[in-house]
Symmetry: C2
Subunit: 199 residues, 2 copies
Amino acid sequence: MSTESSRARSMRETRDRILDVALDVLGENPDAGMGDIASAAGVVRRTVYDHFPSRLDLVRTLTERAVTEVTAVLTEVEASGAEADATWVAFIARLWPVAHRYRVLLALRRGEYGEAIHALLGPVDELLADLVKRGQDTDVFARHLPADTLSQVAYGVVFAIADSDLSNGTPGARAATITSLLMLGVPETRAIALVGAQP
Amino acid sequence: MSTESSRARSMRETRDRILDVALDVLGENPDAGMGDIASAAGVVRRTVYDHFPSRLDLVRTLTERAVTEVTAVLTEVEASGAEADATWVAFIARLWPVAHRYRVLLALRRGEYGEAIHALLGPVDELLADLVKRGQDTDVFARHLPADTLSQVAYGVVFAIADSDLSNGTPGARAATITSLLMLGVPETRAIALVGAQP
DNA sequence: AATGGACTGCACACCAGTGTGCAGTGGAGA
DNA sequence: TCTCCACTGCACACTGGTGTGCAGTCCATT
């Protein structure tokens, strides 16, 4: 069934390569143009437009990809039925490599396509807020901020640290997880125990 | 000595109004053009260019203003000689209204003028890192991240919460301070005691 | 060998923003 | 009253990005 003609495959490969490289290029400079992406993908600008009719289409596809992956991870770790803090740790651990690749979306959320991206990311935001809310209800997370804000900020910190991972000497997933746990109100000893269990 | 001709004053007023309003407009949309700023200031685009030869000049002036104010606050609270965590609380409390106004600079730091702004903000970053380092050396702050990264992230969170202050129902300075203290590794009870002392 | 289509390489038109030039206009200061 | 000058209101040139059109090339498929 999955017989794919060599033609169709190479076209899909080009498309995927454009998407992959766009994530890289936009990750370094969110204002990069279609030309920059095309060059980096070893292709001509015109070709990019053959695959994605507009810049917004490209960004949207990228976002949809991210939403799919993050949602998958999130629902999967939620299925374990563990306590909210342990679930959070598992979530970040699984999310870390993905977060680093998709860090650009946080930057893209402001400016120009912000609204479109925000809309697509809405469901993820809700799932995240639900998890934090559950943690607050079971007294493992603090209540100094409402669940939606807190989840957003904790989530943002993880991406921010993933960002600084480039220049700085790799603080890494562990430090990011601990930091997010701390701001969620998890005591330091408990936080260390949690990430120690799943390093 | 401070006799200022009515002419010179109205010119300075215009200049100040442009700066003030630019902070607002860019705060809402960092990609706003000189035209938008001009209109918001009740002035023609050409006039803005009479005061600031280029967009970069405007942004730089804005940044210099911010650096001056933040540095003043920071050195002032440092002068008290209090423990690092108490100093941090005092710093955020004094910074809060300013942070809300200058929140745009965090967005402007990425993209186009990022380098110029980053250079101007360098001294502030150092002072901040020094404070956090002192806290780590005296065991009031945790060491899960190096001082420079940790200060940067904690600082960023305060601005992020100041940002969400618009849409959301005013979490306010107190919540922001507690959140930043938590991620600095200050235990929740201590954090609450600290902000309680200076609400 | 012929065909179809992915990709190239160039051509455009279009737009939005930046920065400049210059002849006004109106009000403060001499 | 006359001069100066901040501000206006147009003009313009320039840049850099977006999106489209189209002839041509190359190669897998038929």
